[in-house]
Amino acid sequence: MTAPLLAVDDVHVRFAVGGWLQALVQPGRPRSIEAVAGVSFAIARAEIFALIGESGSGKSTLARAVNGLVKPSAGRITFAGRDITGRSDAAMRPVRQAMAMMFQDPVGSLSPRLKVRSLLAEPFRIAGRTGRLEDEVQRLLALVGLPVEFADRYPHQLSGGQARRVGVARALALEPQLVIADEPTAGLDVSVQGEVLNLLRDLQQRLGISILIITHNLSVVRHIAERMAIMYLGRFVEVGETEAVFANPRHPYTLSLLSATPEPDPDAVADRIELAGEIPSLLRRPKGCELHTRCPFAQDRCAREVPPVMADPDGRRFTCHYPR
């Protein structure tokens, strides 16, 4: 087996909360939260890996840690054989050419004052290339299936799907090995969503790039990712092959997420696993299994003991005392 392109090993990300004044007023309150609390995974070359989680699960923070936008407080991140943990911004610069980021808001992440031509030439200039970049611009437009005339448009003249394509083109400009796509389909209409996903998969197959997709939308993941991880309160609760996880989810949280997608069929039987309440605050992590406050299958033991990481023969890992 060849070495993975990206290896994340027991990474933690901590954020300080409140100042000294708050510490005086509320002495018992924690001074920091762990947004990512010990996560390990690896992405092979030309693999699509998906991180699933609801708001506050730490999925975006984890992606930012991989890209070096936040510094992990513990753990190790290896990319293309090199340890890149805690590198300075200057030292991250060459790495970021090989690891491109696609940010969430497709229109908001494009400067409204620049034409598509300048937006596509920008990555080259940042990387130190000068001179005429028209050929590169045309190559990128062709790569994501946009007509050449689009080089003269401003972001507000693009539809949501077209703006997404420009975002993909920018990410691909410097021929990265890994693309991190944060919610690539958020805010897109259903009829356009498929277009962006097809494009991403096509590029993965044609160019052999790896993609890390971050999303809360499970139906998106099913058709595009080879493997997926489900996050809750900054930890993985289940990791495995996408098909296997969909066919037979082991963790109750995965099960509830899967059943929370209403089917577009009025006669479908809604046999739903509903979680009680809302996601707890990271300031007060529940004891034992962190899902026990909401889990419909929780027993006494779940409130006391932290469940160990279990593994199935097919390589699936999950943390639950009473897996399904």
Partner: protein, 328 residues
Amino acid sequence: MASGPILEIDGLSVGYATMRGPMRALRDVSMTVPRGGMVGIVGESGCGKSTLMNAILGLMPANGRIAGGRILFDGRDLVGLDAATMRRLRGDRLSVVFQDPMTALNPVHTIGAQMVDIQYRLTGSRAAKRARAAAMLAKVRMPDPRHHLDQYAHEFSGGMRQRICIAMALMAEPDLLICDEPTTALDATLEVQMLDLLRDLQREIGCAVIFISHHLGLIAELCAQVVVMYAGQVVERGSVRDIFHRPAHPYTRRLLDCDPARIRERAEVLPTIPGDVPDLVELPPGCIFSPRCPVAEGRCHTTVPPDVAVADGHHARCLLARPGEGAA
């Protein structure tokens, strides 16, 4: 009074004045909401969902104008009503839950103050109004409602805020509640909780609901009647089973095909609808969907299709739709 539908929209057309000329945002829109019924409106960006909602509520922007048609609310035409009368209806008999619970509440007043203030039309003491507010919060399943009345919006999570918005919209016991993408800003597990809440409340209170969403799964589960909109027109309407099991309009069929939740097998290439929504200032001749329609024939590009009844209560705007069954 208590007969006939609560809302009947008949041939409604709305235009906006733009620098490029009049934009025909809604064209000949007809739909019916039965008393106590739940009607879903599905459509993608730019289909006219928001314009339709604003027209019903009398909240048209300054450059908007109702060019024709009627909006009969409980038998009375809302088109051309004066601002004061319209204002009286809004909040009292017509209510809305907006998409974004983060911005719908006033950040500098407590929830209790806001919920008391919106009862300004009612007589009674402040204490009685506070009690009503607390009772309403209990109805949307908020634990410990009296305590929550003294809190500010930022102290609540998104899901809780949307519950507060729903409670406020239902305070006046409206006859018609319009929900504009009420769960879009929420996570999947909360979306499901909200779905159950809306269904229970609707049964309890018995008001009619218009549920606007792009989420086909939610509509299928919640609504009895469905209206499909595309580029300013109602292209198809019927019972939820008609729309999901026997779609007669090619657009509806494509839209259903595109929903990844419907595709059970892992698909190599996901279906899409190629092309863009047409320019509503310079309308294409013929059927509005014909430039993107995979089954369009020559006449589709020249003839505007009429609203055809394909079955009892099932209408489609397609030249190829035939009574008795879905089209090509």
